[in-house]
């Protein structure tokens, strides 16, 4: 039997607000346990939540960015369950009336574009952390994270492979960091993915029974977990078994998923509207004020790069992999006025160097202005590609401005044709054999002569100029 995979993702993104969603405590990561937990965060008797408008604005940004419906009245509900790192015994979330409904993201897998629709996105608070290490026979509770604002983003079950799921997760990651609502740090848990996975015989209309893989914190694990889960579900079904609805965890060490709880263990969360919070009302003025400061989005920027800088669709997609990269590229292109050359340098020399040094674009030792200046020197004939790479090395090392490096290291391309002609004459005189070969019709000999001239000029000759002058002399 042929099987089809069906995947929907629920992604928890930590919103990049300075303070928590219902208290004034800091959301900074890594502080000593419980030093960022206020009376509200530890749920002392009598405390009340007050909504952080910044979190709402993040959600509005997201809704606008995916073309979703923003619910003008949205409501916080209480999701009731007991857990030691859930101080109130309930999580404040949104069930019936979330802030964002609908919207879509475009992904590309192997050059094929596909639109993934979103179901909803809602605001909620994060829980604290239970610390099982370091406490013999006891559990430590750190409530620093309790109350950190989250936007839970739920997709429709429209992905049909782990590759599509990863492409969607990456596109979402790019978007939320692009619009500045999430720092995207997956190691610190700022972007956590739950994958709902099921399989069904190809051609069957109804979905199979799904299992939810919880808390995947890297794209690699997302792919591995789905691939394992799909294999397991197909094998189970083909062996005559049944899939039971369940929540599972992925173990990166074994590469397997294992059951966390079955449907029977599922909580009845007893959701009801939180009487401590008023419904959130969004008016046009608020929405428009958020729209006004929304940056150009990746798709729009790709079109703009193709149109204004003449880069290919593929390059435009790569260059908009993150807002920082796109901004960097655009700055380089504007400085040098050479879009294609800028794209080649950013995606080639610079990307390779960053990769090797394990730096991201924001940490690049070569500023966009300097890279632009370097490309401008290629364009005006001062530098050959080869010389330019040497100047780039200088820039990477922090040796100063482009022209200063060219000057200091003597990397200027030879532009004096008299000097070049002299070198050519010497080369021709010393290589009569090649000259004869060229004249008898062997084109290869011409390239050998160019090589000799370049060598004699120690790389500083302008190859185009050498070509012209050499041709002229040989045809004399």
């Amino acid at each position: 039997m042929k099987w089809e995979t069906v995947i929907g993702l629920e992604v928890h993104t930590q919103l990049a607000t300075k303070s928590k969603i219902f208290s004034g405590s800091s959301t900074a990561f890594g502080a000593a346990p419980n030093t960022q937990a206020s009376a509200v965060d530890i749920a002392l008797p009598g405390v009340l939540p007050v909504l952080n408008k910044g979190a709402v604005e993040c959600a509005i940004r997201f809704g606008l960015a995916i073309g979703a419906t923003l619910n003008r009245v949205n409501v916080f509900d209480r999701k009731n369950y007991f857990y030691p790192d859930l101080p109130k015994g309930y999580q404040i979330s949104q069930l019936a009336k979330p802030i964002v409904e609908g919207g879509a993201l475009t992904i590309a897998v192997d050059g094929e574009e596909k639109t993934i629709h979103l179901t909803r996105a809602h605001m909620e608070e994060d829980a604290g952390k239970s610390l099982h290490e370091d406490f013999h026979g006891m559990t430590g509770i750190d409530l620093n994270r309790a109350g950190t604002p989250l936007l839970e983003i739920v997709s429709e079950p429209e992905m049909r492979s782990s590759a599509e799921a990863v492409a969607y997760a990456r596109a979402l990651h790019t978007l939320v960091t692009w619009i500045g609502i999430c720092d995207g740090n997956m190691q610190e848990g700022s972007f956590r993915v739950d994958a709902n996975v099921s399989v069904r015989p190809v051609g069957q209309a109804e979905f199979g029974t799904r299992r939810e893989i919880k808390n995947l914190n890297s794209f690699k694990f997302l792919q591995q977990a789905i691939d394992y889960e799909v294999r397991w579900q197909i094998e189970t079904l083909e062996d005559g078994g049944r899939i039971e609805q369940a929540t599972v965890l992925f173990d990166p060490d074994t590469g397997e998923t294992r059951m966390m709880r079955s449907k029977e263990d599922a909580h009845d969360y007893r959701y009801f509207p939180d009487p401590d919070l008023l419904p959130v009302k969004l008016d046009d003025a608020w929405i428009e004020s958020v729209r006004a400061v929304l940056p150009e989005l990746p798709a729009a920027m790709q079109a703009h790069f193709q149109r204004d800088y003449g880069v290919s669709a593929y390059d435009a997609a790569v260059l908009t992999g993150s807002r920082a990269l796109a901004d960097y590229f655009e700055a380089v292109a504007k400085t040098c006025g050479q879009g294609k050359l800028a794209a080649n340098w950013v995606m080639g020399e610079l990307a390779a160097a960053l990769n090797k040094a394990e730096l991201d674009i924001g940490q690049s030792p070569v500023s966009a202005a300097r890279l632009g200046a370097l490309i401008a020197r290629i364009q005006d004939g001062t530098l050959s590609g080869k010389l330019a790479r040497q100047v780039f090395e200088g820039l990477w090392e922090g040796a100063g401005e482009v022209d200063a490096i060219i000057e200091a290291r003597g990397l200027k391309q030879m532009s004096d044709s008299g000097e070049l002609e002299k070198i050519i004459d010497e080369v021709l005189a010393a290589n009569q054999k090649s000259v004869e070969e060229f004249r008898s019709g062997k084109d290869k000999a011409f390239n050998a002569l160019i090589g000799q001239v370049m060598k004699a000029s120690r790389g500083k000759a302008n190859p185009a100029q050498v070509n012209t002058l050499l041709k002229a002399k040989l045809q004399n």
Binding site: P45, G46, L48, T139, R270, P275
Partner: protein
Amino acid sequence: MSDTSLSALAAQLADKQISSRELARIYLDRIAALNPAINAFITVDPEKTLLEAAAADALIAAGKNGPLTGVPIAHKDIFCTDGWLTTCGSKMLSNFVAPYDAHVIQRFKAAGMPSLGKTNMDEFAMGSSNETSYFGAVKNPWNPAYVPGGSSGGAAACVAARMAPAATGTDTGGSIRQPAALTGITGLKPTYGLVSRYGMIAFASSLDQAGPMAPSAEDCALLLNVMTGFDPNDSTSLERAKEDYTRDLEKPLSGLRVGLPREFFAEGLNSEVAAAVEAAVNELKTLGATTVDISLANSRLAIPVYYVLAPAEASSNLSRFDGVRYGYRAPDYASLDDMYSKTRAQGFGDEVKRRILIGTYVLSHGYYDAYYLQAQKIRRLIADDFAEAFKACDVILGPTAPGTAFRLGEKSGDPVEMYLNDLYTIPANLAGLPGMSLPCGFDSQGLPIGLQLVGNYFSEAKMLNVAHQYQRATDWHSRQPEGLK
């Protein structure tokens, strides 16, 4: 002291006829003498009280005193009070010293009013007799064999016995008004949102409202001036201009239209209570008021609606009492679930457990629509009835409770019988309207009878005007229990 009205005490303090410390000492001595029999207080800490009184004296000496600076007050043990044990009447919080002040406490501190202590209450404000307190029942000062009502029973009893000139209370379904009625004092539950709930331990968030309890309406007006005001820490707190609730006290009542809901004078009302309330209506007529027959037809559903919504919210509000971070934790347990279950089994009393169970049930999958949602719809209908009624009248009048105080233990075995005590008070909570109770007589056993006024939203000044004019014409509010004078 012959006159313990707040205005008289404040005047003596301002004139330096008495210091705040001396005044506090008088009340502390009275508490020491009377409280063992009444059990109105859970915590008394004379040292803290006298320190606060000394600070008030300093304000007065510096000429920085406000209208009530130096006048002491007792606080219901539902308000978190920095450095004070704050128990909410429960074993669960029997060891909880609050690390912060509730907004209401902050306001009384800022007004320079020293705290006389924390008053006894039904556990987590769940009860109408003050018998559910972990710290023992409160006795009615008019007859210690009788209950003082609840849940603000300690507050009501301490004022009735003049162990404090005034007290704070909270009212979710009648917890200020019913004990005020049963102890012969005046108590007011403001419009929902007028007084911040920050730091007031939540029972049912959409119904809870703090208010003043004191001998007279004038006292309550002065206290309301201190308590009300916008608080950014409470999202349901209302942002509106500050009012002076004493401004209309002396207005004549001519032209006042008093609505009498026929449902509040029907079956189930004690005849002595009915007679006293009718006499009060006649008194108001002689003061210039006219009466209007009105109907609050859906109010008959108030008790079932309340006992769906209040427990639903409570079941969630009380989840934080899990033994993890503060409060009581069972000494022995085998696992996390066992810790939760034993902590809550041992830490909560029967009435609290009963309401948590009801609330959990009505919010459960498959029952939510039939109970919780249905109750919310009827809540709206009850509010609509009031809106309709206020087209024809300025204030609604009726009995506060169906009877007078009952004997300790008389109703504690029958929850439904107990719940019926709040028949007349619950509708105002469901609608978010202000309500108050004031004394209007005594039954044949010498137990006080309470009269209830329900006003339109933000009509506290009008209600206080009506109550004050009535109290100028009568002396029920100034009577005190014989044996405790």
